[in-house]
Symmetry: C2
Subunit: 371 residues, 2 copies
């Protein structure tokens, strides 16, 4: 049968397995079966299925006394060229088991080539925003409940202060007290006016998180209103909704991934959930709660996340890490030292705590200026 000829390429998933050492090998085999044929192997008579379709345990290594790392490979054809099915083979059923974590995956060239990934990545975003030697400075308009004009005025102050990207708070959707279209038109116009008058180059990223077709409609509306980027939460809207927007050549806007509803809780490495997956789905930047803020991510987890977003990944462009979640002016120099220039620092509420907003933004720009 024609369909039985495989290309020979395989993708590799790496799992951390909690449990006694003498069970590690059995667990690895169980994962290889669960993620492919999902059937006791003694029931499979077809030699081709046994050899080519069942996952292969490529190696097991001890990480700690009761923690083992297993590398399992699968024929590229199992993913059927689809993001949903790739994720399914990587972690579909096994995600339901309490003691297995998906810590990394590697895609071979042909399979990786079916994903466009980020359209801009770090260099593209630097070109687009004209920011070359420092981190991007990012903030959000909020709180939910303000009318479009008040949000537009706030965005104008941010733009005047030299913020590079002003995004919607991820809770701004299409509520009756602040309609999407009213807000996006008002804010985009206000930012554009500052850019024109003050010579700034601020970009507005409205939140288009919604059902797939609604998100797409809002993204087109945002573009026509003058928005320079888009914000989407794939945990709410789905990974392929992110991908639909990222891959649309008529939109061709940078996409920022927000982590809302993407609970991690030991099921994934930070590298995978907030780095590799947004990048695979086409996000040009990925927001996450930085260490030391009001969330519980550790510095080590943030470093791991940045690796997934920035380190080489099967030819895909990079995805700019956007640490957030309680970054203050006071903490800005430390964050810069930790993340370096290839990032975007997202300061929220603290920009409103120090009097004149535009002046506070300028202080932030000074704090991250290259020396």
């Amino acid at each position: 049968m024609m369909g039985r000829r495989l290309c020979g390429e395989r993708f590799v998933a790496t799992y951390l397995i909690e449990g006694p050492a003498d069970e590690a090998a059995a667990w690895a085999s169980k994962i290889a079966v669960e993620q492919s044929v999902e059937l006791p192997t003694q029931l499979i008579e077809d030699a081709w299925i046994r050899e080519e379709i069942i996952g292969r345990v490529e190696g097991i290594a001890s990480v700690a006394p009761a923690l083992h790392q297993a590398r399992i490979s699968f024929a590229s054809e199992l993913a059927g060229g689809e993001l949903t099915q790739l994720l399914n083979v990587l972690f579909g059923n096994t995600s339901l088991k309490p003691n297995v974590r998906l810590v990394d995956f590697e895609l071979p060239p042909v399979l990786a080539g079916t994903f466009r990934g980020p359209r801009f990545g770090l260099p593209g975003l630097r070109d687009r925003l004209g920011v070359h030697d420092r981190p991007f400075l990012v903030t959000a308009i909020k709180p939910m409940g303000l009318p479009p004009e008040a949000l537009a005025e706030l965005a104008a102050q941010f733009a005047r202060g030299g913020i590079d990207i002003v995004k919607d708070d991820h809770g701004l959707a299409d509520q009756p007290f602040c309609r999407f279209s009213d807000r996006v038109v008002a804010v985009a116009r206000a930012v554009e006016q500052v850019n024109r008058e003050a010579g700034t180059a601020c970009v507005y990223a409205p939140n288009v998180t919604a059902a797939p077709l609604v998100a797409h409609k809002r993204a087109r509306l945002a573009k026509s209103a003058g928005a320079g980027a888009l914000l989407l939460s794939p945990g709410l809207a789905g990974w392929d909704t992110l991908r639909m927007l990222a891959d649309d050549d008529d939109l061709a806007l940078p996409i920022i991934c927000h982590p809302a509803f993407l609970a991690i809780r030991g099921a994934y490495s930070h590298r995978v959930l907030y780095g590799r997956l947004p990048r695979l789905a086409g996000a040009d930047a990925t927001i996450f709660p930085s260490y030391g803020g009001r969330f519980a991510f550790t510095a080590e987890e943030c470093r791991d996340l940045c690796a997934g977003a920035l380190e080489p990944m099967a030819g895909l462009r990079s995805c700019v890490p956007l640490p957030a979640g309680g970054i203050t002016l006071e903490r800005l120099p430390g964050q810069l030292a930790f993340y370096g220039a290839d990032t975007g620092l997202l300061i929220g509420g603290d920009l409103l705590f120090h009097g004149d907003v535009a002046s506070t933004c300028r202080r932030c720009r000074d704090l991250i200026a290259p020396v």
Copy 2:
């Protein structure tokens, strides 16, 4: 301003918070702020926002020495009539915190009315399948790697044996060795032929999990090929992709939710993640790993899940629980005793372990026949 008049209805989220008793109240307030304005409250001057937009802590109760339950309500308007934004307010950012679990939520009438929910529910599925006094008997065609004709032959044996619903294994997508359209046409035809010749009423549920528009296209193809239900994994395809199929009046097929990629890990109650959410998005049935099989769900968690799927929920139809994940013939009577008749028992590999498949299916039918 017109938009500032709220309807007065509120939805309520219930969280379990781990931590010392003297921090429970502070944590509840933090959640109420994080899930609404996401800004320190001292920065909010607008009295209307402070009173109407910020979440309200309705009550805190101690569950255990270091475990507290908090009920927090939000104005219905915050959800903006959208599933994505409702989920965002319920758990968007807070899902990223390690010590908070979303254990339940309640929707008031107007907000609930924006969701159609399951089109059939338990009574509709009973009518459609002609099964009134016992659990549905469900199985899957697999393994991945078999060609369409072999899967069709297997489905025919299941149908002959009296299986009510034959679903695709959730790993059957559109792989080169078994194309979606080839498989669905072959299997639907085989099942239909058995129904015609043997007088059975088996329904085939192909897996349409894919990117939103592809899933929709496959669902239409499945219907035109004669499939009587659909299988979708919203953890992979997105909750609104499930909803798009469920709400399509031209499709009007029962939808079965598969839990692939829906890691729970203490972030949600089983009631919410595998019961209420699939139901809210329109699933008529929800597959989950039953207690005592090869997954780690406990009997108590399965009971909680069934409550979310079956108990009254703001006027939405019920969602039939489909326990799976290692149910054997031997375990069938115990599962029936535990779940009762209002369920579907999903037996996978064990149907292939006892010689003639159709005979084994008939034994299962006997085991669950009403006494």
